[in-house]
Symmetry: C2
Subunit: 447 residues, 2 copies
Amino acid sequence: MPMILAANANAQGSHVGEWRHPDAWERPACNLGNAVRLARIAEAGKFDLLFLADGNGVRNLDKLDLFAATSPSDRPGVFEPVTLLSALAMVTEHIGLVATTTTTYDEPFAVARRFASLDHLSKGRAGWNLVTTSNPGDALNFSHEAHVPRDERYERAAEFAQVVKGLWDSWADDAFPQDKASGRFLDPSRAHALNHQGRHFQVAGPLNAPRPPQGHPVIFSAGQSEIGKELSAATADCVFAIEGTIDNARRLYADLKSRLPRYGRTADSLKVLSGVTIFVGETAAEADALFQELEDLVSPAVGLDYLSKMVGARMADYPLDGQMPAFAEEHVGPTGIGRAIIAMAVAEKLTVRQTYKRILPQMAGNLFKGSAMQVADVMEEWFTTQACDGFMIAAPVVPTGLERFIHLVVPELQRRGLFRLDYEGRTLRENLGLARPENRFSPSVAE
Amino acid sequence: MPMILAANANAQGSHVGEWRHPDAWERPACNLGNAVRLARIAEAGKFDLLFLADGNGVRNLDKLDLFAATSPSDRPGVFEPVTLLSALAMVTEHIGLVATTTTTYDEPFAVARRFASLDHLSKGRAGWNLVTTSNPGDALNFSHEAHVPRDERYERAAEFAQVVKGLWDSWADDAFPQDKASGRFLDPSRAHALNHQGRHFQVAGPLNAPRPPQGHPVIFSAGQSEIGKELSAATADCVFAIEGTIDNARRLYADLKSRLPRYGRTADSLKVLSGVTIFVGETAAEADALFQELEDLVSPAVGLDYLSKMVGARMADYPLDGQMPAFAEEHVGPTGIGRAIIAMAVAEKLTVRQTYKRILPQMAGNLFKGSAMQVADVMEEWFTTQACDGFMIAAPVVPTGLERFIHLVVPELQRRGLFRLDYEGRTLRENLGLARPENRFSPSVAE
Ligand SMILES: Cc1cc2nc3c(=O)[nH]c(=O)nc-3n(C[C@H](O)[C@H](O)[C@H](O)COP(=O)(O)O)c2cc1C
Ligand SMILES: Cc1cc2nc3c(=O)[nH]c(=O)nc-3n(C[C@H](O)[C@H](O)[C@H](O)COP(=O)(O)O)c2cc1C
């Protein structure tokens, strides 16, 4: 199997200073032209898929007094992903289209329909990134008083995914003869009502769409907790991971794959994609220079703002060049990125300024920086030593960062036999090396 | 104002026998190519908009033993409308894109987002057909034991629509300067959290999308009950009506318009579109011949099947050429199409066969049949005597029925000065002659 390459389809770079860079696109909020150009660039680079992250709210708006919502990364002006990818299906031919939808505030019948529809529109290129919603504030947009606790979110998610898959199997692949001569539009014996009766959902079915071209659109997930990883092992085809070191990534990879046999699954039925931001230049110095340019576009106000959001404290109240405070666990919570940042800052004795400079470039995952050879080397090492099956790539500046990666790194990966020369499969599933699921109700005659 | 013309974007004709006609497209279930061609035909004909009806279930599947689900009109194989129209936005430039979404099984934040996104994608051509779901069986796909009673559906719908409109006003039109030089991505003082606290919904906002190009995407509705009409008067920009006679249509038109002043609205702020199926030929005889051809494609089994669904009885148990039974009200319910059919059959002493032959051509509304002149005459009469502001047109056979209408009738309407020669507005709202709503939070400076 070749390495899997996924491109962040949000037509904004991953670096918080990016949108101000001279190379960055003008007016990125809900800009269709940019999204179309980005999709075409990624497809010309033979990427497996475009990925759109999503949330249902503006992050940090409740703290406008404390932190100014001044940046695209608070996501105040974005397309709804399934609508955007439906549009992009019309201007691309091969690349997969993966949209995020939450199981916490949506209905399985509706989600099954939208992704079946996207799969039909794109002739088998749809993927669903199943999330339980990471931004707590989204709850307030769905008549909830507070974020649903994680265990409850994942319990609902597990049942939700089972219902969605069952609905995709509503019709046998050959249930719609549509035969003018005999007047037989469909074959009722090939329809299967699901009649799901569960704790969270009761869904009769069948879905009002023929079985999707891929059987099931490809399911992605990204849980990092124990329960989140278990859901991935039980349900997902691909999982997004973010680990800062190759050793941690290898451990997570082995951990995820080891969970599969319990569900009767083989190791290659779940692909692990590692989130990474890539700064590449003709030389390492060129990559460093771009990195520095972006740093300089981040004013201390914005840097402090971001750090404040991460650790949940008003960092402008602390001296910029003083030591980063060792906030207690009660303050930032027992898990998550806030605690990791503080642990790192304390261990390395970083100042407040050094701390935000360290974290900002890594918001979308790990940082690979250097010449094309250096970047290809580290990608090869991660890929061949089972730290991942591929990468979810965010470019620091869009579109030039992605173009530079395709121009410089992709040919080197191809030369090394690590990446495809052209699309071979017709569907996203085929390109990812994933089998087409049998219909649970109507196994093929070969079975 | 010119007459408004809307085209049914379901790439299947309105006649139940249509799909078997030699002119009809092959394999209509989820066929993107057909949908694209249909959209282009309608846009070449200068239609105001494409309309996609919708439901979340397969109709009559629960009665598979009683009635075979053999026809596309049970909607077993359809695209989800917002995904399809997002795709069609990419292959059209002027025509409006109106999708149906239910308020009964969806969330206002999610609906506001999808239509805002479609409006951004299409540069101001989105419309939302607000329905409360007419197919009772859909309830079983959303963890409900039975259809929600009408009054409750409409109460929820009214609050739902208010929340959606409030969310569309989340940002002033100029809230996103996206200014690279100053680093000012958005202007927090131009954001407005909705903080809606109602009986059915609590929604904080703001929406995570800039204000839609149209301010508010155009809202359609089609309620026929008292409470349904009141919702249209309070909330909608356009209303779909189906009346079998011009006198009834005039009465409904006057009724709807008379409700507007109570909401501080003028008569031209709500457009009434009458649903109609048009059979047109070079001559009246040609139209009649097509009508006959379609009749002949309906076998007695299919005709009885349809009639059975309408009146809720197994009509195959009655003699085909015997008198249509006068089922009691307890049997078919006190309102609705079933009762009207029986009343008509009894009054006109129709046989069972004559009854289904009468109703089948009229499933998508009124029937206008004849030469181009005859059809233009009746459309002119309806339009100029305030029976409607325009028509929601279903072609009996797709695409030829629509092409014939555009070829034969549209030029005649244009000659009479009743219909546009070309698109004049840039948005759907402008083409329909509807004002762009002020932002409730940030009235323009001119106010
Ligand atoms: C690459 C990547 C992409 C993610 N995309 C989203 C997203 O679009 N929306 C979202 O709510 N959460 C997203 N998440 C968060 C995960 O869904 C998950 O909540 C998070 O990794 C914490 O794991 P846990 O839920 O098991 O605690 C993403 C995570 C990763 C690593
Ligand atoms: C032209 C037209 C189109 C309609 N489209 C839909 C639709 O797509 N989905 C739906 O559930 N109901 C649809 N309806 C039904 C109406 O929303 C409404 O339920 C029906 O007219 C009965 O009125 P009432 O709800 O006030 O009783 C449509 C009605 C008309 C006249």
